[in-house]
Symmetry: C2
Subunit: 192 residues, 2 copies
């Protein structure tokens, strides 16, 4: 029985992703990552030439993971709109309970003007995917009589997306209960 070989590249991505969600892109360095993994910062540069490259890789991986999550939901998950919406909420509750992490898309937008252009482009694409998924869910759920709301699905998706993203941020300053209350309020709105 052999020990699994160490996958440094993957560990760097995991660490960078966690630090991005915990502290922001401008508040962690190659040193921080190297120290946490017990390697030297040159090793990190070997896997990701520049910090911008690392940032883009983190965003793209997150986006691919979201697509896999969505595909799995299609094949194995609940098919009713409410079950699917709750599954989406669950992503954010998991962040909340993993050390007050916030939405990666949100932190990148907050720092939008001070991150490399390549990362801005990558986070634009990620955001469109997230809002697009919500829009389709809302449109479909209303057609099937599960959700109730006025206006366009894309606009209601903005309310949901903004509330989840903003709510996680607000929870840092005034506690997780406020996020839970916000999500409960979203549920109430869609039931009415």
């Amino acid at each position: 029985m052999t020990t699994a070989p160490r996958d440094t590249k993957r560990e760097i991505l995991d660490t960078a992703e966690a630090m991005l969600q915990e502290r922001g892109f401008n508040a962690f360095s190659y040193q921080h990552i190297a120290e946490r993994l017990g390697v030297k910062n040159a090793a990190v540069h070997y896997h990701f030439r520049s910090k911008a490259d690392l940032g883009v890789a983190v965003i793209e991986r997150y986006r691919r993971r979201f697509h896999r999550w969505a595909e799995r939901l299609n094949s194995e998950g609940p098919h009713d709109p409410w079950g699917r919406l709750e599954a989406y909420f669950q992503i954010y509750f998991a962040f909340l309970h993993s050390g007050n992490r916030i939405c990666p898309s949100g932190v990148l937008q907050a720092e939008f003007e001070s991150i490399p252009e390549e990362m801005r482009e990558a986070s634009r694409v990620l955001l469109e995917d997230l809002l697009g998924w919500l829009t389709v869910l809302l449109a479909d759920g209303r057609e099937r009589g599960a959700f109730h709301f006025l206006g366009e699905p894309a606009d209601q998706a903005m309310i949901l997306g903004s509330t989840l993203q903003g709510g996680l941020q607000i929870a840092r300053a005034c506690g997780p209960e406020r996020f839970e209350a916000a999500v409960e309020q979203l549920r109430r709105q869609l039931k009415a």
Copy 2:
């Protein structure tokens, strides 16, 4: 006729506030402020010993300004709930049209784990004031039959606050129309 004497301290606060909302706290330096004002970085340190002091001063000033805004709204502004809510929306539209600035409270929460503790405390207080004001407005507006929503006013305030905060951030990545659409959707919800 004499020229107004230069108020460097105030100009530093203005510049720091703008840079906070545009780039985030971790993405501007004393050098940046000094260069923009045409002074040396030692001059900035003369007015604010540390960057944490400067950060706290920016937050506190913003909070005082919000209170003056609220008092003026009580004395001179519209007294009907809808007029008051639109006045609040206007604060965020002004940010949107001043170079994609985002809510100061939001950017501080996004960087919460990487800013000095004194700033965290100050931004907690600011957030409570903002959400508190919205909560009172919603409670009052519903009593008077102007707003319609289910659940507690504090929970609906989370939806409004999160959507405005998150919406400004999202607008950076996908355009100002999306923020306007989100606000319009908020209006629709409260009218129903």
